[in-house]
Assembly symmetry: C2
Homo-oligomer: 338 residues x 2
């Protein structure tokens, strides 16, 4: 086992998802085919609603990570295609339910499914995709994979409830926030990469390494998502902007700005998170306060720390295009601006 | 293999769930303990919300049927306790989501969870129970059981979407209605009883027999539930009454009354199912029309037919207290008045 440390080094160009996308392009075609086939049903509303979200794109990060993990483990079979689709179905189901829970209006640049199809259908089709994901795992037949993904699903739903409970609670701590994103986001990243080691029949050490990679990367991703919601350098008012703010979600930029704020600023945050300040002016003021206390940069700094841990976790694998692509994906997670 | 036909015969007393409850009493204590243990979470809202519904009682028909099926197969282990709890969790998850979908106000004689805890928490705790059910199945470790229950879950959610699509559609046929209740209700009854044969390591014939028993019993149960929503002999106005009517659900009593109605009556049904007649007077008129065309009795007649099929399905098993109790449960399903 080599134990190189791969530093985040200055690059000629910005880090991108290009290498990981190239690495997994063929496999992702197979995964997309499974996704399209298995979202079908004789009940026309199911493929219509599921297709609205799935055709809406998204980066398909999670299944791509399963495939990249399999490449890292030098796996040459096809079992991971179904499992990667199962991972994406779990993710899609949680997005649909999130949109109902949050009353979202925009998802992936399009009207959210709940706005077009209504909450009832969105809840039920989410359920359907979730059951389909389990059917795919059962077809694969690995109890170990089933255990990893059923456990991750359970942790995700606990994290979602925890996030709901923390909403509008200004006193939410950084630790609790990290616990929530660890559950609602990072658990599925960790499971997505871990199952690659299982399918490749690697040992416990490789499983744990890929789990660590996915978990830290997931946290980095979520931190940057949460930072971008308040980033003054890229901020434009518009639909879907300021959702976290209006829903009173306690994300790290808010936690830091609140902790660093004056009495007057803290009063503003209390009112805003309680739901009494939801205008565009209030949102602009929130962005200004977060900028004043450098809370976006501090959040991105935290993200860099987790991305570095993700990169270190896979240092045990021999150098390969897969390892380089996965390291660059982690760098991308923190560098991206949209 | 004996092939007795056990006729629905006149009884001294009304059929009851007494014998099946006595048969499964010890096992149900163990199942209830699993249910209480496994609905726990460090997020307090989860046991609070889940417990509200679960402590609300209900007959626990589905886990009881798993236990009765195991007794019928002369199984003496304990694996079925976890699996019966998994079945109840699936059922509980669908009830929570149903209440959100229907905007229910009453469930099991108490305020529905969505009214007390809100739709977001109800959706997410439903998801949590669903993931917990899969964790329980994975712990058991039978891929055959996992396949049966993941498939049933998928069929249930398709049935729920189909029911949503059929709502407010006056031209829904009896066949489509039977398809919907076969999916949304009977699939879980069938899976609950089938897995008993799997755990007991019986053959395909016994599996199929128990599947047939559960499926037909589930249809009978749902038919009688739907009949009771319009039964003038037991009808009392009150909260929770007439929900099917106000939601424009196409159940068999309505399908039959519409088919047998005069032009004027059909006009009433069209308006009512479309959602334009939702007053107490409209509901009373609906009950009167359904009585006039004997649609409640006709629905109960259909239920008797399915209950008889359920009883016939288990005739292949040797006579035993379990078989007698399961037969009486099927008779109870059609005879009950509440």
């Amino acid at each position: 086992m080599s134990a190189d440390v791969i530093p985040l080094r200055p690059r000629e160009s910005e880090p991108s998802l290009g290498p990981i996308m190239a690495l997994t392009a063929n496999g992702m075609n197979a995964v997309n085919q499974v996704i399209l086939e298995r979202m079908q049903s004789e009940i026309p509303l199911i493929p219509a609603l599921a297709g609205h979200l799935i055709a809406g794109g998204g980066k398909r990060m999670r299944p791509m990570l399963t495939l990249a993990g399999a490449a890292l483990c030098d796996y040459h079979g096809t079992r991971h295609h179904k499992l990667a689709a199962a991972v994406e179905f779990i993710h899609t189901a949680t997005l649909l339910h999130d949109d109902v829970v949050d009353g979202s209006e925009i998802r992936r640049g399009k009207a959210a499914a709940n706005l077009i199809f209504g909450n009832p259908a969105t809840v039920l089709v989410g359920d359907f995709l979730f059951t389909r994901s389990f059917e795919l795992m059962v077809e694969d037949g690995s109890l170990k994979v089933l255990k990893i993904l059923s456990n991750a699903s359970s942790v995700i739903s606990e994290g979602e409830v925890d996030q709901l409970t923390a909403a509008r609670q200004i006193e939410t701590s950084e630790d609790r926030y990290l616990g929530i994103i660890g559950a609602k986001t990072a658990a599925l990243f960790a499971a997505a990469t871990r199952i690659a080691a299982v399918v490749a029949e690697k040992g416990e050490a490789e499983e744990r390494a890929l789990d660590d990679y996915g978990r830290n990367l997931g946290i980095a991703f979520q931190l940057v998502d949460d930072a971008m919601d308040y980033d003054s350098s890229t901020f434009e008012m518009g639909k879907g902007k300021g959702d976290d703010f209006r829903e009173g979600k306690m994300t790290l930029p808010v936690i830091l700005a609140y902790a660093r704020g004056t009495e007057e600023e803290r009063k503003f945050w209390k009112d805003a998170i309680a739901g009494h300040r939801t205008s565009d002016e209030d949102l602009a003021h929130a962005v200004e306060l977060i900028g004043r206390h450098d809370a976006v940069n501090a959040t991105r700094e935290r993200a860099r720390h987790f991305a570095q841990r993700a990169i270190n976790a896979i240092a045990m694998f021999p150098a390969s295009p897969a390892r380089a692509a996965m390291a660059e994906a982690a760098e991308f997670a923190v560098a991206r601006r949209s």
